[in-house]
């Protein structure tokens, strides 16, 4: 379990996160939503340890991130997988080398075993015959799948995704969503996704955290988000006519 207690982060005296407290459970897909500038990315980077918070604690299965030494922190990071918004694949390496990279750095296994593992995760994300290609030769959706494969190759306990659907067509976005959810269940990971995509919220959001002005203004599941009366959440999630109609239809049906 990841426990966040009273997380506070500021930049040049300007507070961005103002005391966020929440928990993330094993085997669940957690979504963080909120308007641009609400602190989603900073929150995710604090969880990853890329930003050090001024106040508060982040506890990964009993290990308080800010109190760990450099070695222990690196060890903890090896238990994390991250899917960046743009994929962040290494341009100069082939797809196979990209996915094998964490294994080469941290797993003392023979090359053939590492190659087998690469092929297993590539199959898992439904990619074939791309081993020797470079990231620039793949489409955006395929790059995201490679990024997911690289993130899960070390069997991480924690998976973080920053806008995994951005720039993808709706069909590919759904494929990526389903893939992340399936993997979360299969590997029993704690998955935390930063998203703007309301389809993802409705489809895979087992726990949704709505951030507003650096605070968690609302928490609940994708079922509860239909019923909520929280004005800020309703304003944000149901800003399009389509979603308004979907919500009304859902509420009428459940009356």
């Amino acid at each position: 379990m990841i426990e966040v207690k009273n997380l506070y982060k500021e930049f040049n005296g300007v507070p961005v996160l103002k005391g966020i407290s929440t928990t993330f459970e094993k085997g669940k897909t957690n979504l963080i939503i909120g308007q641009s500038g609400s602190g989603k990315t900073v929150f995710l980077k604090c969880l990853l340890g890329l930003h050090i918070p001024e106040k508060g604690k982040i506890c990964f299965d009993g290990r308080i991130h800010t109190e760990l030494g450099i070695k222990q922190r690196r060890q903890l990071r090896q238990e994390m997988g991250m899917v960046f918004q743009g994929g962040a694949l290494f341009d100069s390496l082939t797809i196979e080398e990209n996915i094998m990279f964490p294994l080469k750095m941290f797993a003392n296994k023979p090359n053939s075993e590492m190659l087998d593992r690469v092929n297993v995760v590539l199959n898992r994300v439904n990619l074939e015959n791309v081993n020797k290609k470079f990231p620039a030769q793949l489409s955006g959706g395929m790059q995201k799948r490679v990024a997911i494969a690289r993130a899960i190759v070390m069997n991480p306990k924690y998976l973080f995704c920053d806008e995994p659907n951005s720039g993808l067509d709706p069909r590919t976005a759904t494929v990526i969503d389903n893939l992340i959810q399936e993997i979360t269940k299969e590997y029993q990971m704690i998955t935390i996704i930063n998203s703007h995509d309301m389809n993802s919220v409705m489809e895979i959001g087992e726990k949704i955290i709505f951030l507003k002005d650096g605070k968690n203004a609302w928490e609940g599941s994708n079922e509860e988000i239909f019923k909520t009366e929280n004005e800020a959440v309703v304003d944000f999630v149901y800003s399009s006519n389509l979603f308004k109609q979907v919500r009304e239809a859902y509420l009428n049906k459940t009356k």
Partner: protein
């Protein structure tokens, strides 16, 4: 204050760079890749410039030595001294600062803005050690060889300039390059080269690693890196010359 902040940050960066590599096999792979990228791929330009500038130095010396009281072998002597002491180590390092420096800043800057460096950090990798240390070692190992080659080709260029222009006799030139040869000058040139190799890799790496923004900022950082690398090389050249030859 602004410059002090950057100088401090540069030395803090170096402290992270000089750590034990996390995996020697990966480090070795990176080192060979950097020797290829930073060294072997600079071979062509260094050979081309050295040969022709050596020729120009010899021609200009010949054209300026028109007094019958000055022996012609001084053309070879002056060409050799100029090339070994200054042209090969300093001028070539400035060329490398432009070519290799901009490459290092732009490649690392692109890695920064496309979150590839963040990806390394999230994996638990010391990104500075992983990315910069192989570059430094590749340059420290390979640039002295490049500069030795540059010295040789510069002198050969001077010799061929004499053959093609008839401004001086090749026998005089060869006598001149053999005259009063002091091996310490080679040591001096290579000492400078090693210092410059360190500067050529670390200053651009600093500018690339800490870049913020998008592609425009990467371009600006590359320009800044080349300018500052050149300035530092020129300043250190002055102090090293004073210290080693003064």
């Amino acid at each position: 204050m602004y410059y002090l902040k950057h100088i401090g940050k540069y030395f803090i960066m170096l402290r992270q760079v000089f750590r034990k590599p996390q995996k020697w096999s990966v480090f070795r792979e990176m080192l060979f890749r950097e020797i290829d990228d930073l060294g072997l791929k600079s071979l062509g330009i260094i050979m081309f410039i050295s040969f022709f500038v050596g020729g120009v130095v010899a021609i200009q010396t010949a054209l300026n030595v028109d007094s019958p009281f000055i022996p012609k072998y001084l053309i070879g002597f002056a060409t050799k001294r100029g090339i070994i002491l200054e042209f090969a180590p300093t001028f070539m390092s400035i060329i490398l600062a432009g070519k290799v420096g901009s490459y290092i800043t732009s490649s690392m800057g692109t890695m920064r803005v496309t979150e590839q460096i963040d990806a390394l950090e999230v994996m638990g990798i010391n990104s500075l050690n992983y990315l910069v240390l192989p570059k430094i070692l590749a340059a420290l190992f390979f640039y002295p060889l490049l500069i030795l080659l540059s010295m040789f080709l510069g002198i050969v260029g001077g010799y061929f300039a004499g053959l093609l222009t008839d401004l001086f006799f090749s026998e005089d030139f060869i006598y001149g390059i053999q005259l009063d040869f002091d091996p310490y000058f080679i040591k001096y040139a290579l000492t400078k080269t090693v210092v410059f190799a360190f500067i050529i890799t670390t200053i651009p790496a600093y500018h690339g690693f800490y870049v913020k923004g998008g592609s425009l900022e990467v371009g600006r950082a590359s320009t800044r890196a080349v300018v500052w690398t050149s300035i530092v090389i020129i300043l250190l050249n002055y102090f090293l010359t004073q210290m080693l030859l003064g």
